[in-house]
């Protein structure tokens, strides 16, 4: 048994035995810890994984609480009926919010949630239907089979069952196809898009999920407190939820529990002591929490629990055996007649700098075309135009005869274009095999709920088996469970190729695949690319190593100052006067 599993087991045991040793007051305090932990779990997904953060979660808790309270008090609905209503209401609000912010940078979401949290707080306190500042009272407790949740114990049990269930479900989610996409959002969103991840949809889904969790807490809160007023749904509380997540460790699910526990248990203590110390009454605990967060980011930005883990020497990656699985379905082969990829008249200007003028080339299936040229010739810009990273000003882009002009990067990946990047783009703290499996994103289908409930195991096994197969082809299967960031640069480039291949592309774009490789490794790579060519893949590569290019490519296209200056077989290009001038300067 691994130490991590032992620690998890002990934590679950502690949760289970707490009611036997603790009194009413402690149990209800722990119920609050659990409630905060649920909100913080949503923030672990949102902040720690997807790199978005919300200060407005308390407002979503409030929406859940008020919707439930109003439905029960006005329409006499049972709490079990108001729960779906509360979840739906918060989900809809979050959906609208997501619609607004997904295309903008992350800090807009954060600022918008600050404004939203403030607006909602004043709204809760100002409306008649919410009872204004005095709120709504007279709510019934939860009832189950005629048993009322009036004492601390049933509330505690219910909340912590949900917490543990959520940790299980969210752990499943993160360990799935969708989860890998979510984990790419924070640092490598552009790469994930090239792997076929719909970034906007993934961000929205995480945001909505985290808000629905907050709405659940609001629903429970209404029947636990049995009255609802605006103060627990203020911006200050929203800030506190985020602090819990970052204090405990926003990258770990259990970090949410640790952070929620620390803040919730310390708060009454500080509230009692600090006013004595300062000689006046006031919310001085916020000074302490604020100070701790400032210090945290100066010295241990990952949070307490990850810090503890690394101090104990536990790896963040849990290696596990991969179940045998049926091979994934393959893509239809492109038609043999006509080029697999054809570009005519591509043009792109950045302000006054014209990066591509009238660039055109074609790559057939079973052909390797090399795009070469001095630095700044516009090769990488051309790659970005083909893969939809930047929009072209003009030009036709055809994939097997169908136009891909104006398609998103995600759609171009779906149609069969795989790519590697000039600057390696792997998710450093994720295992090599999971990085490769991200390339197979479009070959799976299961959604969030299926992943959370672990009903996606067959698909997962298929995706991971495919990733392992690609790693074996490139000779890196021995490193499958290493942290991708720990590999040598040359190996990371090869992992990128494996990742592109995991998507079963018909066209492969490689941006300087041989950079950083040793001579022998380059020869192995060249052999491998020939093998792929023989399988019918169309390969376009940018490369500076002339020996590598001239020995490998069927045709070479030379660019300079954004234009194609020569194209032909390696021998033709080598003898071209214009090319010689571009590379060696004028002979005359």
């Amino acid at each position: 048994m691994k130490p991590r599993q032992v620690a998890t087991g002990l934590a679950v045991l502690a949760v289970a035995t707490a009611p036997m040793v603790l009194g009413e007051y402690q149990l209800s305090l722990l119920t609050y810890v659990g409630l905060s932990a649920i909100v913080a779990l949503g923030l672990v997904l949102l902040t720690g994984k997807a790199g978005l953060s919300s200060f407005g979660q308390a407002a979503f808790v409030g929406i859940g609480a008020y919707v439930s309270a109003i439905a029960t008090l006005r329409a006499g609905l049972s709490p079990w009926l108001t729960m779906p209503m509360a979840l739906l209401a918060t989900g809809c609000c979050a959906w609208v919010g997501a619609l607004v912010m997904v295309r903008l940078s992350g800090h807009y979401l954060s600022l918008a949630t600050i404004a939203f949290g403030t607006a909602m707080f004043f709204l809760f306190g100002g409306l008649d239907i919410t009872g204004g500042q005095s709120g709504l009272s007279g709510l019934p407790p939860l009832m189950l089979f005629g048993f009322a949740f009036t004492r601390a114990m049933p509330n505690y049990a219910f909340v912590w069952l949900v917490v543990l269930g959520l940790i299980w479900a969210l752990g499943n989610l993160l360990d799935s196809r969708i989860g890998r996409a979510i984990r790419a959002l924070r640092d490598e969103a552009a790469m994930a898009e090239a792997m076929g991840v719909d970034i906007a949809a993934a961000k929205s889904a995480v945001f909505i999920l985290s808000c629905v969790l907050a709405g659940f807490v609001g629903w429970f809160y209404a029947y636990f407190q049995r009255f609802v007023n605006p103060s627990p749904f203020s911006l200050a509380q929203g800030i506190e939820y985020l602090f819990m997540a970052v204090l405990g460790g926003a990258n770990l699910l259990w970090g949410a529990v640790v952070g929620a526990g620390l803040v919730t248990l310390l708060k009454p203590l500080l509230q009692a002591r600090l006013p004595e110390l300062f000689g006046m009454s006031g919310n001085f605990e916020s000074v302490v929490f604020g100070g701790v967060v400032i210090l945290l980011f100066q010295f241990a930005s990952a949070g307490l629990l990850p810090r503890l883990q690394s101090a104990l020497g536990w790896s963040a990656i849990a290696a596990h055996a991969i179940d045998p699985a049926e091979p994934l379905a393959k893509r239809a082969v492109f038609l043999a007649d006509g080029p697999a990829l054809e570009v005519v008249g591509a043009r792109k200007a950045f302000g006054g700098v014209i990066a591509n003028v009238d660039v055109g080339l074609a790559v057939r299936s079973g052909e390797i075309v090399a795009l070469i040229g001095p630095n700044g010739a516009g090769k990488s810009t051309f790659f970005d135009l083909v893969t939809g990273v930047t929009a072209a000003d003009a030009g036709d882009f055809m994939l097997s005869g169908a136009s891909i002009r104006g398609c998103s990067g995600c759609e171009i990946a779906r149609r069969g274009v795989g790519r590697s990047f000039q600057h390696v783009r792997l998710i450093g703290d994720m295992s090599v095999i999971e990085n490769v499996a991200l390339g197979a994103h479009l070959r799976g289908r299961s959604g969030m709920l299926v992943a959370m409930l672990r009903l996606n195991r067959r698909e997962e096994a298929g995706l991971l088996a495919e990733a392992l197969r690609q790693l074996r082809r490139v000779g890196l299967d021995g490193l499958a469970w290493s942290e991708a960031g720990s590999l040598a640069l040359g190996q990371q480039r090869i992992v990128e190729i494996a990742r592109a291949l995991a998507g079963d592309p018909r066209v492969l774009l490689l941006d300087e695949p041989a950079a950083g490789l040793r001579h022998q490794e380059k020869q192995i790579l060249a052999g491998f690319l020939r093998e792929l060519r023989a399988e019918g893949l169309a390969i376009l590569l940018v490369e500076h190593d002339m020996d590598f290019v001239m020995g490998l490519a069927d045709r070479v296209v030379v660019m300079e100052f954004g234009r194609v200056i020569a194209a032909g077989t390696p021998a033709q290009v080598q003898n071209d006067a214009q090319v010689q001038e571009a590379y060696l300067g004028s002979v005359a």
Partner: protein, 335 residues
């Protein structure tokens, strides 16, 4: 509503809009140079208002203690970073703020003219800007803007608590700088409104000239447009950050003094004002000064008319404005 009420609301909205305009400019400046979403900007307002009124009333303002605490904190961190070899420079850096704190403590006893109190207040608050940058942000200047934002929110909470400790919970209201009223097209206009609008115009104009013409202004613009390039040209990111915070603190201090003549300010009043500056700043994507300025007057007018039609929902309406603004921006980006 009749024309008289409309004129009155417009006047009120423009005065508030001018304050939001100043704040929005400070926020956009700090964001452009340091990528920090500077939530604690509002605290400069309340600190300045409370300091100014304390000086007018002949008390030693809480700012004195706070400033000394910040000097001690920054000095301690500098010594940790530089070792005792840095002692001389730490002392040299501390002289001005400590001297200023002493001056403020002494001058409070003499009942000096308002203009002197005003200058002392601005100087005291201005000193805090660079010190806060050194203490809180210098070490994490390269962190993601998300981390910087979380730290800024934490920083705001600390400033809020310290504000309560050093200034107490009572609200203050200063006598207007000029207590008079003139009639414009038959509508009485408070002199304070005119003072606020004029100050805003002068400050904005001054900042424009400084950033276009002066050496420091150009260096700041360079640091904002291309931080790495600016650093390669010898512009220290640290200096740029401290200067941005200095300007933000000066703007906050002047806004605080201006607004304390028009409304009662508590230790926690600044936050909502600063947040409204952000709503305005976002209109220009936290990058465009003119759009931020237009947004600020829009926010001021909206707030003023909302307080007439739906006073209970004034804040909700102003902050909910951010949703259509962001929607517009995200559609502009999609195109």
């Amino acid at each position: 509503m009749n024309a008289f009420v409309a004129a009155y609301l417009t006047q009120d909205g423009l005065a508030n809009g001018a304050i939001y305009c100043l704040l929005a400019i400070a926020l956009v400046l700090v964001f452009a140079v340091t990528r920090i979403i500077f939530i604690p900007q509002g605290e400069f307002i309340s600190y300045a208002a409370l300091t100014y009124v304390a000086l007018r009333e002949g008390h030693t303002p809480g700012t004195v203690g706070l400033l000394l605490a910040l000097v001690a904190g920054a000095g301690f961190i500098d010594l940790l970073r530089e070792g005792f070899g840095g002692l001389v420079s730490v002392v040299r850096r501390s002289l001005a703020p400590v001297g200023l704190a002493g001056l403020a403590a002494v001058s409070a006893r003499f009942g000096l003219p308002a203009l002197v109190d005003l200058l002392i207040t601005v100087a005291l608050v201005a000193c805090m800007g660079p010190l806060l940058y050194r203490i809180v942000y210098r070490r994490i200047a390269q962190a993601s803007s998300l981390v910087l934002l979380i730290v800024a929110v934490a920083h705001h909470l600390v400033m809020l608590g310290l504000g309560l400790y050093f200034f107490g919970p009572e609200g203050v209201r200063a006598a207007p700088l000029i207590d008079a009223s003139v009639s414009l097209f038959g509508v009485p206009v408070q002199a304070q409104t005119i003072v606020i609008l004029l100050s805003c115009a002068v400050l904005v104009g001054g900042l424009y000239v400084i950033s276009e013409r002066s050496f420091y202004g150009k260096a700041m613009r360079a640091a904002a447009i291309n931080p790495i390039g600016a650093r390669l040209m010898g512009i220290s990111a640290e200096l740029a950050g401290e200067t941005a915070f200095l300007v933000a603190a000066v703007i906050g201090a002047i806004s605080g003094i201006l607004i304390s003549g028009a409304t009662t300010i508590y230790y926690d009043s600044g936050f909502l004002l600063g947040l409204k500056g952000f709503v305005a700043g976002i209109l220009g994507g936290l990058a465009s000064f003119p759009l931020a300025g237009i947004g600020a007057f829009g926010v001021g007018l909206l707030e003023s008319f909302a307080s007439f039609y739906a006073s209970g929902f004034k804040e909700t309406i102003v902050f909910a404005l951010i949703i259509p603004i962001l929607l517009w921006r995200s559609m502009a980006k999609a195109r």
